[in-house]
Structure formats: structure tokens, C-alpha cells
């Protein structure tokens, strides 16, 4: 599988590390219900088709937000997680 890094271009999947789905971390801890925290930890959309995913390109260590098709493994778009 070929993935894309906005800095390094198309690269082999072995250079990347999957980090999970984009989620807002619920906090502060004292105000977060057990259920909301458990959802943050364990509940994922895991869609078939278009999915938003966080990846790390381990070659340049940039954290990326990818939109991929999980059925075809095609990368639809990719951007750095950091503001320009």
C-alpha cells in the first residue's frame, strides 16, 4: 500500500504508523463521565469506505490526518495535523 506524506510524497506503508481515529480528548478528568471516557478509549466508528485517520510518518515524524477509503485502501486526501 502506498501512503502519502505532504512533506515526503508517496511512500511505502511500512514507513507509517497508525494512531487512531481523530477524537477530541474529553477533559478535565473530574468533569468527564465514565461513559464518555470509555467511549473515547474504546468506541470507534471504523467505517467501511471513507474514513478519517491519524497516522504518523515515522520517517519525518509528522502527524498526519488522512482521509482514506478503507474498502480500497486509496488515500483520498492528507494534511499535516499542524497549522502551517
Amino acid at each position: 500500500m502506498l501512503l502519502f506524506c505532504p512533506f515526503c510524497g508517496p511512500r511505502d506503508e511500512t514507513e507509517f504508523h497508525y494512531l487512531g481515529e481523530p477524537k477530541a480528548r474529553p477533559e478535565p478528568a473530574a468533569e468527564v463521565t465514565d461513559a464518555a471516557w470509555a467511549e473515547y478509549l474504546y468506541v470507534n466508528a471504523n467505517p467501511r469506505g471513507e474514513a478519517r485517520e491519524i497516522w504518523l510518518h515515522r520517517t519525518c515524524m509528522d502527524v498526519l490526518v488522512m482521509t482514506r477509503d478503507t474498502a480500497t485502501n486509496a488515500t483520498l486526501s492528507v494534511e499535516s495535523s499542524r497549522p502551517a
Binding site: 500500500m1 502506498l2 504508523h17 478528568a29 471516557w37 515515522r58 485502501n73 499542524r82
Partner: protein, 953 residues
């Protein structure tokens, strides 16, 4: 004897004879022969035995589709199993053996099995699994099953390169369509990779010939080759594109002369799949007799290898393509007679009987006669042409769909796939002019396509009725007959995927290249449905067997999962270190050639008595730098680190977001804006990654950076009562009195012109000094220490002794003394959970109901009587529960302590802290022992030795 070599013609070199043996008998072939062509030239008819029934089999095909001629080849004393004789080039001094036969293919003692064929119907293996007892049959079935014999001495070197390549267009197959596609693309300036699994280009043209653009096809092919190279592409022969993967990655296996095979990973913008088509058999009775062969294959053997496969050849066909083969064979001197199932037959000079099918084939060990039209015709070879099956494997691997094209009696691609086009015979275009037009279009060609005289291909399939008499083979290699398919369908296996698994149709090493359509037609007939409706089984890579050595490439042995190496490895080895892997690092386990237990015990004891040198270079050393460094390390760590003073050290945990202990380690504050996060050797990469990910996610990346300096520094640790004396003797210019350098503080200095850091941290419970220098200075520092050791009665210590020392102190190794559920309070570290108000990784999870469960597994010590053996690591602490036992936890670390002169152990036990003082049962492999739950700290519970040593007195 039937086949023989012609005195002239063919692409062989008669001046270079090659000697080889087959099943022990000597033969001669010629350069340019395949093993199969050489066997045919020598009149060898039986080349193997079928998998299930041990039926004698001859060569059917001339290339990768041949299901029968599977051989073990011994070359230079080393045997490679399961090579395909039709594909493998002949070499001098090869010893070739048939598989699945003993002592030889011609005289196979298991052949009697065929007499019991009615006892081995479809689903035989499934049925014997359940009735009467699989164990009874298993030894017999296993002994007879399988093909070639593995040669344990044949361990090829890991020297197969993997090559990545990019191109505008990949063209698979250099036949007419592939050549036309490559030609169009290259002349438009595109980079083209043109691959073909044969040693030369041309495909069917190479044995059928053809006229393109008014000249011999070879002139056209030479022009294509030149155009591809001129446009920056390459033509790769002896290269099999065997699989297409996500993103249209195509993997290809290249066989190279005098060089190891290579695996190509080709990333094309577009793929043209022009892999041609394969002739299929007619499903006539006894169609598996040796001497029954593909008509096209007979033409290949004639034109490429100058082998005439028989002297009296019967040809049975349902289509036009066999006529060219029949005429060529007749011209070469054979007596040829054609039996065509159609009434309307092409014009030919040969004798043709229309509207007949073969009714029987005689000759148990080789064709002697063919019965057709109610009459017996003498023949030594029967050629069958049941039509052509497009090679759509790449298209189907890429999830294409097929439709049945009645016009050519073939399953052809139904709709285009993004980035992949199928052209030529693979698309059902079975004439030269049509293949050229399709290839030209697929290559993006403008203007007229390369021109060839108009061709004609007509076929009228004859599918036998499911209850047709006689034994009619569909899959030669898996031994599946028409009756087997009919039986499976009657037993309810009507789906093609079920049929495949139940009958093993298409499951052999040829993956059904000659059998799939005949099998589908049979199933369709039984089910009363159309072939298209039945559908095909899933196509998966590889197209043809690819050696595992090629797939594995160089990633074998040490390169499979490369170990990290210490800068001082050579020095350790010179001192007799036994190196072992710990967390991905190769580290000294103990020193000395003697019994490991003795050496380890001696090293651990000496470390408590005097001083020991330990190489701690593999510990993670990750710098967090910048004005917001304190914010990042605080969030990342369970223990607050921003309150740490410069020059000081703090031990703590890193948690997962689930609140479990991810790793532990000490952090040094090098400067107000600079921390050094240390972690376990095996976790350095992961900790550096976590820090980096959270840095970008949560912090201003301009105000904090993460730098993994693990490999830059070597760390040598001296531990023991004499440690300070020894460090003092090294004369490092660092003040060592405890006021200047107390426990959990560090000092900096210079060593050999480079920075030096001396840290007082301890993983042994004894006074310890960790001296870190750049890796380039490691040897100088070690040499100075080793020279000083004897004066203090000290010695070298490996990882195993260190493990004893830390276990004596109850210090955990994360991942060994913790499991995937262990939280910091399970290890007795409660402070941050109770006190920290700010956010940190895993915080909220520490307050979930599960975190409060009183039955959580907690770290404890386990004590047994001094004379006993240590408890087995992994043994379960159990309590009685009704009729059985319930596990309360398990032993995580267990050693014999040379200092305490008794076994010690750590474990995780449910509610363990409250059980201290209890004696519990410990169960392991059927044996039950008793152990007392004690504090994890077995040695020096007051901790006085951290500050001990003679100089303190």
C-alpha cells in the same frame, strides 16, 4: 517411446548437449530445452503420478499451466522440490525426480490406489475427518499426500533483492496485445515496463508466427523494444507479474541468469494486463492418459524445442485454433487425423472427421488408440483443444468481474477497473489483428493500430452431461473428475466456493489454470444454471508458485528483525560475554564460558559484596527541549516532573490512556528547559513516538522538541558497596561526596574531551553510578573502569545477574512484572493519583470503577522454604473453587538469590496487598506447591544500601 527430436529447427543449440537423469535413468537434452521438452524428446511419457489416485500422467502443457510434470530437481547435491518441468530450463548434470511416486513415476507402488478410486470420492478428506476415525487414516493419508521432498540441507542464501520501480505504464505480457500497448505508450513518450514470464518476447507469436505491418512480427517486436528503451522504460523477460495489490502495486518475480532471482515491486500509473490465454482440455473419457496433451503445447514443443510429440497424432477439437498446430505437426512428419465436434469445420489438407467426440482413450501407460465415431483409431498421442481460457488473474485479483462470452466460449472481463485494462487474448480477442487493436487502444494509441491480416476464431463448446459415462478428468493435479463434481453438487455443494473446497477442484499448485472453466461448466450443467451465474472462485496472488526465498528477500536471519547492537559489543565479547536478546537489543547475559547459573549467581553475589560493571547503554535516552518542555513531560508522565530541580532525577511511570503502566524510568532535569527521559531498552522507540505525537497534538511545536538520543550515548554503570571508591579512582574530575552528588542527582564533567554525565540512580538497590559519555568515548571509559575493577574486588555483570538484584529489591520490569491491566496503584505507587490536579495521560482511567476493584492483581513477593527450588515463572497462584481451582494471579519473576541464599519471587495476585502473610497454593503443570505472600522487597527493606559503602563510614 513416442516423442522424438527433429534434426533441424527449434530454438535449441544441438552443439551444446546437456546430460541429466530422470528417476535415475540417464538422458541427453540440449541447451534451450525445458526439462519437459527434454523428457519428451527422449520419449518419456510418464512424468508423474496424480495426487490422489496415483494415476500415471504425462506432460499436458508447455508452460506454467501444466498440471502434471512436477519434479524435484537436484543441482550440485542440493534438491529443490516441486519445480514445474515445463517451465524449468534444463541444465547439465541435473538429477530430476518425479514427485508423488515411488520408486519412479513409471513404476509407482501406490498406483494400486487407483483400483480403489470408488472409495475416494469427492469430499474424501472431509469424510475421513469424521468417519470412522481420522486418526486411523491420518498416517496413511499423510504419507501418501504432498508432492516433492524437502531437502533439509538446501538452505539458499538470503540474497534475493527487492526492487521498487515506478512507471507510467506496466504492460504484463509481451505477446501481440502487450507489444502493441507498449508500442503505443512508449511512442507517446511514456515510461513503460513490459514484463513477460518467458525468456523471450512474442507470446503466441513466438510459436505460431505472424505478420504485422506487412513484415515478420519479429521486426515489429524489435521496434517496440527499442521504443520502450528510448522512452526510458525497460523490457523484462523471465519475469512473472504474479500479484496486484492495493493501489495497483504489482509484484513480479524476475529470474536472472547468473544472479539471484529478484522481486520487483512496481508502482505503475496504469496497468495493461495482456497475459494471453490458456488452452483447456476436452472433458472426454480417460483424458488423463499419458500422451494426451494440449494441442497448443504440442506446437510449442515443435517450434521452440524441435520435439515432435508423436508419430501418429489424433487431434480432438471444438475450435479453429488446433488446425494450425495439426498442420504444423503433419508438415514435420507426423501422421495427423482431426476429430472435430462441429459439423462446420475449417478447410484443411488433413483428414478431418466432423461431428464426432472422443469416446475412449486406450493405453494405460500411454495412448495407443483413440475411439471416436464408433471406430478405433491407432494413435500414440491425442491432442485436445477444448477452447481457450483468458488469463484474467491480475484483473480478478483487483476485484474485476467476469461475463460469459458465448462467441468465444470464455469468461472475459465485464467492466474496466480503475487504472487496469485487459487486452488481447486475456480479453477474449483470440486473433492477431484483434489483439493488436485492443493492445494499441489500451496503450493509449492514437491513429491506426499495427496491422495484421484478418483472423478467424470460432468455437462451439461441447459440455458433457453430468452423468456421461467413463472417467473424465477436469482437474488433473487434484484428481477431480466429472463424477466428483456431479456428486458434490448432489450432496448440496452448489456454490462454486464450496465445490472448490469439497472436491479440491482448482486447489492444486496450478490453481486450476486448465480446469476452472470445465469445472464451472460441469457445475452449471448439474445445477441447471449458466456458467456466468455460477461465477468463479476468488482469485488470489500469486498467479503461479513463487519461491519463498524470493518473497522473503534479504529479510531473513539477522535481517528478519534486526537487533540493536551496543557500541561496546566487541569489548564485551572479548571479555567472554554470552550475548542474548533483551527488548530488541543484543546485550551481555553473563560473562564466561562456564555453566550459566553458576556465572550468574557469582556475578550477582559479587555485586552485593564489592562492585560490578554493567552496560546500561541500551536504556532509552530521550531529550525533551524547549520553554514548554516541562508541560510536555508533565502531561506525558504519571509523576509530576516540572517540579524537579535542575541536576535532580525522579523515577516514575508512563501510563497508557487506559491508565495501565506503559513503561517506567527516570527523568533527569538537565536545565530549566531540558529534560532527559529515560525508559526501558525495549520501549525507547515507542516512548519517543508518544512524546512526539502528543507534542504535535497538544503543545506548541515551536516551543518544545523531542530528540531521541539513545544511540548517541553509552552508559556504564557501577553498582555495589565499593562503587564510589572505584569511581573516585577513575579520576573523572566530578565531586562524589554525597552532599554534592546525593542519590537521585547527577553531575556533569568532561571525559576524553567530550561531555560526561554521572548519575546516582540504582536498579540494584545498592549505591550506583551511571556514567554516560558519547558512544565514541565508550571504549576509553570502559577500559579505564575494567583496569580499576580488580583493585576493588569487582567484576563484570550481565543482564541476568542484574535481574536477580532488582528482583531482590522488588523493582519491576514493565511487561514482565506487569501485565496489560496493571495500574500504578497496583504496584503501590499512589501519590500522583491522589494529588495531581492537572491532566496527564491515563488520568481519567485511574478513576473508573475497574480501577477501584479490590480484587485487582497487585504486586507481591512469594516466599518458599530456603531449601526449595525457585517457583516456576508463570505458575498460577490458585484457590479452591468448587470442584476445581481458580487462578488468583501468577508468578512473574523467580530466581535463586545468592545473597539471601533462598529463592525469591515476584507475582501479581488478586488483592495481593491484603494477603501478605497468607500461604497459598501455587499450581504449575499438575504440581501444587505452597508459597507465602510477602512484601515484594526481599532485600534491604530499609533502603540503607543505596547510600552505603565504606567511604560513608
Amino acid at each position: 517411446m513416442s516423442g522424438f527430436r527433429l534434426p533441424t529447427g527449434g530454438a535449441i543449440d544441438r552443439g551444446r548437449p546437456l546430460a541429466f537423469t530422470f528417476d535415475g535413468a540417464p538422458y541427453l537434452g540440449a541447451a534451450g530445452d525445458s526439462i519437459a521438452s527434454a523428457l519428451l524428446a527422449n520419449g518419456v511419457r510418464i512424468v508423474g503420478r496424480s495426487f490422489k489416485h496415483h494415476r500415471p500422467r504425462g506432460v499436458w502443457g508447455a508452460w506454467t499451466e501444466d498440471p502434471n510434470a512436477i519434479v524435484d530437481v537436484t543441482r550440485g547435491g542440493l534438491t529443490t522440490p516441486n519445480l514445474r518441468a515445463a517451465v524449468e530450463s534444463l541444465e547439465n548434470d541435473l538429477a530430476v525426480r518425479s514427485v508423488n511416486a515411488w520408486p519412479s513415476a513409471a513404476d509407482d507402488r501406490s498406483a494400486v490406489i487407483d483400483s480403489f478410486a470408488r472409495f475416494m470420492p469427492s469430499g474424501f478428506y472431509y469424510k475421513t475427518f469424521v468417519w470412522p476415525r481420522w486418526e486411523t487414516f491420518e498416517p496413511m493419508v499423510r504419507a501418501m499426500a504432498g508432492l516433492g521432498r524437502l531437502d533439509p540441507r538446501n538452505r539458499p542464501p538470503a540474497d534475493n533483492p527487492h526492487v521498487n520501480a515506478h512507471c507510467d505504464m506496466l504492460v504484463v505480457g509481451a505477446g501481440a496485445a502487450g507489444l502493441a500497448a507498449a508500442n503505443a505508450a512508449a511512442r507517446a513518450g511514456r515510461t513503460v515496463i513490459l514484463v513477460d514470464d518467458h525468456a523471450d518476447i512474442g507470446g503466441q507469436l513466438a510459436h505460431r508466427g505472424g505478420t504485422i505491418d506487412g513484415g515478420d512480427w519479429r521486426a515489429f517486436a524489435d521496434g517496440v523494444r527499442a521504443a520502450v528503451v528510448a522512452a526510458g522504460g525497460r523490457v523484462m523477460t523471465s519475469t512473472t507479474a504474479f500479484g496486484v495489490y492495493d493501489g495497483n502495486l504489482v509484484c513480479a518475480w524476475e529470474r536472472r541468469a547468473q544472479l539471484p532471482d529478484a522481486l520487483w515491486r512496481i508502482w505503475p500509473k496504469r496497468i495493461v494486463a495482456a497475459a494471453g490465454a490458456i488452452e483447456r482440455p476436452l472433458v472426454v473419457p480417460d483424458n488423463d492418459r499419458p500422451g494426451v496433451m494440449s494441442a497448443d503445447a504440442a506446437l510449442v514443443y515443435l517450434r521452440r524445442h524441435a520435439v515432435l510429440v508423436g508419430r501418429r497424432i489424433a487431434v480432438a477439437t471444438n475450435n479453429d485454433s488446433a488446425y494450425a498446430a495439426a498442420e504444423a505437426l503433419a508438415e514435420a512428419g507426423a501422421a495427423v487425423e482431426i476429430f472435430d465436434s462441429r459439423a462446420d469445420v475449417p478447410a484443411t489438407t488433413l483428414k478431418v472427421t466432423p461431428s464426432v467426440v472422443v469416446e475412449a482413450v486406450e493405453g494405460r501407460s500411454g495412448v495407443t488408440a483413440v475411439k471416436a465415431g464408433g471406430r478405433t483409431h491407432a494413435a500414440d498421442v491425442l491432442l485436445l483443444s477444448g477452447g481457450w481460457t483468458p488469463t484474467v488473474h491480475l484483473f480478478m485479483q483487483a476485484r474485476g468481474k467476469l461475463r460469459w462470452d458465448e462467441r468465444v466460449a470464455a469468461l472475459v472481463p465485464a467492466a474496466a477497473i480503475e487504472g487496469l485494462r485487459v487486452a488481447g487474448a486475456a480479453n477474449g480477442a483470440f486473433t492477431l489483428d484483434a489483439a493488436l487493436r485492443e493492445g494499441h487502444a489500451a496503450g493509449g494509441g492514437e491513429g491506426p493500430a499495427p496491422n495484421a491480416p484478418p483472423g478467424l476464431y470460432r468455437v462451439t463448446p461441447v459440455w458433457p452431461a453430468p452423468d456421461a459415462p467413463g472417467r473424465r478428468w477436469i482437474d488433473f493435479q487434484s484428481d477431480v473428475t466429472l463424477k466428483d463434481v456431479a456428486l458434490a453438487a448432489r450432496e448440496g455443494y452448489a456454490s462454486v466456493e464450496h465445490l472448490k473446497r469439497y472436491t479440491t477442484l482448482g486447489m492444486a499448485t496450478d490453481q486450476g489454470k486448465t480446469s476452472s472453466v470445465n469445472g464451472l461448466a460441469a457445475l452449471a450443467a448439474v445445477a441447471g444454471r449458466g456458467i456466468e451465474e455460477i461465477g468463479t472462485t476468488t482469485y488470489r496472488p500469486p498467479f503461479t508458485p513463487v519461491p519463498m526465498t524470493v518473497v522473503g528477500g534479504r529479510r531473513r536471519g539477522q535481517l528478519m528483525n534486526p537487533l540493536k547492537r551496543l557500541p561496546l559489543e566487541a569489548d564485551h565479547r572479548a571479555d567472554g560475554a554470552q550475548m542474548r536478546e533483551y527488548g530488541g537489543w543484543l546485550r551481555p547475559a553473563w560473562y564466561g564460558p562456564d555453566d550459566s547459573d553458576l556465572a550468574i549467581q557469582r556475578e550477582a553475589k559479587r555485586a552485593r559484596e564489592t562492585v560490578a560493571l554493567f552496560d546500561g547503554s541500551s536504556l532509552g535516552k530521550i531529550e525533551v527541549i524547549g520553554p514548554d518542555a516541562d508541560k510536555l513531560v508533565d502531561f506525558h508522565s504519571y509523576n509530576r516532573l516540572s517540579t524537579l530541580g535542575v541536576g535532580k532525577i525522579r523515577y516514575g511511570f508512563m501510563l497508557s490512556e487506559a491508565g495501565t503502566v506503559f513503561d517506567d524510568g527516570v527523568t533527569l532535569r538537565l536545565a530549566p528547559d531540558r529534560f532527559l527521559v529515560s525508559c526501558s531498552s525495549g520501549h525507547a522507540d515507542a516512548v519517543a513516538m508518544r512524546l512526539e505525537v502528543w507534542r504535535q497534538d497538544r503543545f506548541d511545536p515551536r516551543r518544545v522538541v523531542v530528540h531521541d538520543a539513545t544511540a548517541h550515548w553509552a552508559t556504564l554503570t557501577l553498582s555495589g558497596p565499593r562503587a564510589r571508591d572505584l569511581v573516585a579512582a577513575l579520576d573523572l574530575g566530578v565531586a562524589l561526596d554525597d552532599a554534592a552528588l546525593p542519590h537521585m542527582a547527577f553531575a556533569t564533567g568532561r571525559f576524553a574531551g567530550a561531555p560526561l554525565r554521572v548519575a546516582r540512580v540504582s536498579f540494584t538497590g545498592d549505591r550506583s553510578y551511571e556514567m554516560s559519555v558519547p558512544a565514541s568515548r565508550a571504549r576509553s571509559l570502559r577500559e579505564r573502569i575494567v583496569a580499576a575493577l580488580p583493585a576493588f574486588g569487582g567484576g563484570l555483570m550481565g543482564s541476568e545477574a542484574l535481574m536477580i538484584l532488582r528482583a531482590e529489591k522488588g523493582y519491576v520490569v514493565v511487561g514482565k512484572d506487569t501485565d496489560g491491566a496493571t495500574m500504578p496503584h497496583d504496584l503501590g505507587v499512589l501519590g500522583p493519583r491522589a494529588q495531581r490536579k492537572d491532566e496527564y495521560i491515563g488520568k481519567r482511567s485511574l478513576f473508573l470503577p475497574a480501577a477501584e476493584d479490590p480484587d485487582r492483581k497487585q504486586l507481591v513477593g512469594l516466599a518458599v522454604e530456603p531449601g526449595e527450588q525457585p517457583l516456576p515463572t508463570g505458575a498460577h497462584v490458585v484457590e479452591d473453587a468448587g470442584q476445581g481451582r481458580r487462578s488468583l494471579g501468577y508468578v512473574t519473576s523467580s530466581y535463586r538469590s545468592p545473597t539471601l541464599e533462598r529463592p525469591i519471587a515476584l507475582g501479581l495476585v488478586a488483592g495481593g496487598a491484603a494477603r501478605i502473610g497468607q500461604t497459598l497454593a501455587v499450581y504449575h503443570l499438575g504440581a501444587v506447591r505452597r508459597a507465602r505472600i510477602v512484601s515484594p522487597v526481599a532485600f534491604d527493606p530499609e533502603g540503607g544500601r543505596l547510600h552505603g559503602g565504606r567511604a560513608d563510614a
